[in-house]
């Protein structure tokens, strides 16, 4: 195990976060605050409770999940795309590091940043809404697992992307809609039957539902299924990365 190699990549990525504090931390925090102001305080006060939870508190897990998914993907995809773009990837490819170590470094750093950001958003939410966490262990587990899974997914996007546009397409065109339609702002029970069934094909539903269960003990789908699905995504992303390194896809010609 090339411990120093993993550490070098990890530290490099973390210091990149330090340099881009405004973009990495401040902007997601501000946009989340706006959601709380609009949906939590302004509109939320006129909304009824969902599953006996005040609306402002109900949307917290979904909003945290939204930032977590977006930031995990963008952190990890940028992390690996930039060296490809600038050409500095040659150094990683020629170094005595295995692909597991490369992934540990890049994805580890991206997931760390996302978890930190998720916790910052949770703390910020506290300024607007009163909430409690029923299962803190599970809350943290979901946070960490989702951060890792979507950082892996972001890593795949970063390798696949051959331009800045592609880097933005997946988060903007796929993940944001899936998250908005995945029960961030409502319970899927509130939808007509047919849309409930369709929603079950949306992977983000399982993530938000499980995460909300950790907060309030209520969920759209059974928490066991949420945990199971999270692991399915995790394994799928790992398989994708394994394939990338095995074939050298867009890394080694």
């Amino acid at each position: 195990m090339n411990f120093y190699g993993v550490k070098a990549i990890y530290n490099f990525e973390m210091s990149r976060m330090g340099r881009t504090l405004m973009q990495s931390v401040l902007s997601p925090v501000i946009s989340t605050c706006l959601y709380f102001v609009v949906f939590g305080s302004a509109i939320g006060s006129r909304m009824g409770n969902i599953d006996n939870i005040e609306y402002g508190a109900y949307i917290i897990p979904g909003l945290v999940m939204l930032s977590l998914l977006m930031q995990s993907i963008s952190n990890a995809s940028f992390g690996i795309y930039m060296p490809k773009f600038s050409g500095t990837i040659y150094e990683v490819l020629s170094a005595p590091v295995s692909y597991v170590e490369v992934v540990l470094g890049y994805v580890g750093a991206a997931a760390t940043k996302s978890v930190i950001l998720g916790l910052i958003i949770l703390a910020t939410a506290r300024l607007f809404v009163d909430y409690s966490v029923l299962h803190p262990f599970w809350m943290l587990s979901f946070l960490v697992l989702t951060a890792i899974t979507f950082s892996l997914f972001g890593f795949i996007i970063g390798i696949w992307a051959d331009g800045f546009e592609k880097l933005q397409i997946v988060p903007m065109m796929i993940v944001t809609p899936l998250t908005f339609l995945g029960g961030t702002f409502y319970s899927i029970d509130m939808l007509p039957d047919i849309w409930q069934t369709i929603s079950l094909f949306n992977p983000v539903v399982y993530l938000i539902s499980g995460f909300r269960w950790a907060f309030y003990g209520v969920s759209d789908v059974h928490v066991g299924i949420s945990v199971g699905m999270t692991f399915v995504f995790l394994l799928a992303c790992m398989a994708g990365i394994w394939w990338i390194f095995k074939t050298g896809y867009r890394l080694r010609s």
């Binding site: 090339n2 050409g87 500095t88 150094e91 490819l93 170094a95 005595p96 295995s98 010609s253």
Partner: protein, 306 residues
């Protein structure tokens, strides 16, 4: 002694079907400076990229430092430092951090004293806290070398190290390469500047269209393939080469005031004496004469255009 780099039957076919390397066999000895010469697109960078692990090989076997580059890639890569042709650097990092990063990436424990030594030798010490984007092109080139030396490699690849570099820096680099060789580092350099190979290399390999067409000690190459030239400046203009001289390969300059006689430097030099005697016999006077050995550049051009 076991060679530091050993390449056996190496082939590389890119996805589109282009064969960049054809059955390359090459051994590079410990502690030597090996120059790989070849025109653009001959396969120099492809070969280096394969040895360093950046590009996959199609078939064949490559060992670096005695380790197979695929089965024992960790050990093989630990021995290698690579200075690529392009100036690929992170813009926002400082010099110190960038070089320390490289050392860590190659699995070495932090050693600030070594990094300091490398930076001082490359005149980068004063710039250690500067962001890379503020460095000049020449400084960036030095930084690339510092990164490659950060993990104390025993084999150093320099891919076109002096492309676009000013004369002073080029001299500095030659100096540095010699010093590294004294420390026992094996150096493989590719270059367009034949002068560079001529100045520094112990052995020279020439690659053309993916094939190694020649590997030779520099001195042997120079004497084997080198041509000598004798130029005679004449007192009086000649309109054509006199018939008596046609036995020898003699040419007349355009203005008619110079006779040029070319011969292999290995050949016994009776030809010169014979030529001069004949000139005396037929009464052609000359004011001056000079001889000149062909440079590696001419040898190279001769080889590549065969």
């Amino acid at each position: 002694m076991q060679p530091d780099i050993s390449v056996k039957n190496l082939n590389k076919v890119y996805e589109g079907g282009f064969q960049a390397l054809k059955n390359i066999n090459l051994e590079i000895n410990r502690g030597e400076i090996f120059a790989l010469l070849g025109p653009n697109g001959a396969g120099k960078t492809t070969m280096i990229s394969i040895i360093c692990g950046i590009t996959n090989l199609s078939s064949g076997e490559v060992k670096a430092g005695g380790y197979d580059i695929i089965k024992e890639y960790r050990k093989a890569r630990e021995t290698i430092g690579l200075v690529p042709q392009e100036l690929n650097t992170d813009s926002f990092e400082t010099v110190w951090k960038a070089v320390s990063f490289s050392r860590g990436l190659f699995g070495k424990a932090p050693n600030p004293a070594h990094i300091e030594k490398v930076l001082r030798e490359l005149s980068l010490w004063d710039k250690r806290n500067n962001r890379i984007m503020t460095l000049s092109g020449g400084m960036k080139r030095r930084l690339m070398i510092a990164k490659a030396l950060s993990h104390e490699p025993r084999i150093l690849f320099l891919d076109e190290p002096t492309a676009g570099v000013d004369v002073e820096l080029r001299r500095d680099m030659w100096e540095m390469v010699r010093k590294l060789r004294e420390d026992g580092v094996t150096i493989i350099l590719t270059t367009h500047y034949i002068e560079e190979a001529e100045e520094m290399a112990d052995r020279i390999g020439v690659i053309r269209q993916g094939e190694i067409i020649l590997v030779e000690e520099k001195s042997q190459l120079m004497s084997k393939l080198g041509k000598k030239e004798l130029r005679l400046q004449l007192q009086n203009k000649l309109d054509r080469i006199p018939g008596e001289l046609t036995l020898e390969p003699v040419e007349l300059s355009e203005d008619g005031y110079e006779l040029i006689y070319t011969f292999d430097s290995q050949q016994e030099q009776a030809g010169v004496a014979r030529l001069l005697r004949t000139l005396g016999d037929i009464g052609i006077d000359y004011r001056d004469l000079r001889t000149r050995e062909s440079s590696l550049e001419e040898i190279f051009v001769g080889l590549v255009h065969d």
